[in-house]
């Protein structure tokens, strides 16, 4: 990436049918998905038939009956793939999974609110909004308006899958200073025929994981580069 971001994360999300209550730090450790010491220090938020949320070392798990998510903020990100592959190709190979997503997101500071605003105006100018754009421009303080979220999507065919790459840019909700920007990329794969053949799902996940992260980071880099571009226009 062009910069060392202030905050970042990556995750794999699987959509299918899951049994949340079987997942816990001890289960992952007993089956060799995570190390025993990491599992011992695991923190459980909730384990319930409908929802499991816990943390093992730097891995954060959130599982409900339709969705399995593992997220990390600590490199190497490849461990997300290893967790998903070992869990669902070796341990639970009959779990029906139809869709998956590889997510990468960062929060970075632009250096000033002015620069952040100019990046926002570059991505979503107020001119095309006509009179309403002028009204938005009049706001200030508590009544300040403007772009709150912008998404751009590419749709592709990838073997048996429809692939949707969606980049979202927003003001950062985590950086307390008013100059933070959030950029997130969701690389979503769903079977075009609606079948839930997990073998093909995990074969494809394994194939695309690294290149997906590389592509997401190049999209994120493009947004980061706007910081220098708007600074150069000063």
């Amino acid at each position: 990436m062009l910069i060392d971001p202030d905050l970042e994360d990556a995750s794999i999300v699987l959509l299918g049918d899951f049994n949340p209550s079987i997942f816990n730090p001890d289960w992952f450790s007993r089956n060799g998905v995570v190390g025993p010491q990491d599992a011992q220090l695991g923190q459980v938020d909730v384990i319930h038939p409908d929802l499991a949320q816990f943390r093992i070392s730097d891995l954060e798990f959130s599982i409900d009956r339709k969705r399995f998510q593992v997220l990390t903020r600590v490199a190497p990100l490849i461990k997300l793939l290893d967790v998903a592959m070992k869990t669902f190709t070796e341990l639970l190979p009959h779990t029906p999974v139809a869709q998956f997503g590889i997510n990468r997101s960062i929060h970075f500071r632009t250096g000033s609110e002015e620069v952040r605003n100019k990046i926002g105006l570059t991505l979503a100018p107020l001119g095309p909004w006509g009179e309403w754009g002028i009204e938005i421009a009049k706001g200030s303080g508590e009544l300040r308006g403007g772009m709150t979220s912008l998404s751009m999507q590419e749709a592709l065919k990838h073997g048996a899958f429809r692939r949707l790459i969606t980049a979202t840019v927003q003001p950062s909700a985590l950086i307390p200073q008013p100059d933070g920007i959030f950029v997130g990329v969701n690389d979503h794969f769903e079977r075009r025929d609606g079948l839930r053949d997990s073998f093909i799902v995990f074969d494809t996940l394994n194939e695309v994981f690294q290149s997906s992260l590389d592509r997401s980071e190049s999209i994120i880099d493009r947004v980061i580069a706007l910081k220098d571009e708007v600074n150069a226009r000063k």
Binding site: D4, P5, L7, E8, D9, V34, G35, P36, Q37, D38, D45, D50, L51, Q53, D58, D64, K66, R67, Q69, L71, R73, A75, P76, I78, K79, D82, V83, K86, T89, Q99, F100, G101, E113, E114, N117, K118, G120, L121, L126, I136, A137, K138, G139, R144, G145, G146, M147, T148, S149, Q170, A173, L174, I175, P176, P178, G180, F182, N186, H188, Q210
Partner: protein, 190 residues
């Protein structure tokens, strides 16, 4: 875009609420995003978007589909979130294990290399106890050098993590055999 427009100060603001902020989920922004989310088949999304600390990373989508009260997860101070961003990352495979060190070949992941171009000797004492159990010839690991950040401090750090890969399956062997046949078939002997 108008140059020197007064709108320049107004376009990007934290004061607006979105489904991702923890302040007001009933904003107009929620409606617009939800309409977009609704386009997804079965009202499902694999996106994580910005973390909403009220719901521990669940998106607006999840909030709609789960009908029971979601327990309050830990609230994080953004500065308390630990991150480790790699400046450089290699994939290593162990070629020799000695009493106190091991030797490995490295593939430069950051430079998007596909083959090993470097060789390194690493002290076994640098590994965590649980990674020492995985140390054997042929084992794969990731070696990352980068910045570890938490509580507003930033520290350059190096990290070795051994990979926990799924066991080989019959289909893996069949695929490898098929690939080998394709490679052999592609060789042109002169």
């Amino acid at each position: 875009m108008r140059a020197n427009s007064p709108t320049a100060d107004l376009i990007f603001t934290n004061r607006q609420t979105s489904v991702y902020s923890a302040t007001d989920e009933k904003s107009a922004g929620l409606n617009s995003l939800n309409s977009q989310i609704d386009r997804r088949e079965d009202n499902q999304s694999t996106s994580t978007a910005q973390t909403d600390f009220k719901t521990a990373g669940l998106t607006a989508n999840d909030k709609k589909s789960i009908t029971f009260e979601i327990p309050q997860a830990r609230r994080h101070n953004p500065q308390s979130i630990a991150t480790f961003s790699p400046m450089q990352e290699w994939e290593g495979y162990v070629t020799e294990v000695k009493d106190e060190t091991f030797t490995a070949h490295l593939v430069d992941i950051t430079a998007k290399r596909r083959i090993a171009e470097e060789k390194i000797e690493i002290s076994i004492s640098d590994l965590s106890d649980q990674d020492k159990d995985l140390l054997r010839e042929g084992a794969l690991f990731r070696w990352s050098i980068g910045y570890y950040k938490q509580h507003g401090t930033k520290m350059k750090s190096s990290r070795i993590v051994f990979r926990r890969l799924p066991a080989w399956t019959k289909s893996d062997f069949m695929k490898a055999e098929q690939k080998a046949k394709e490679l052999i078939g592609a060789i042109t002997w002169e």
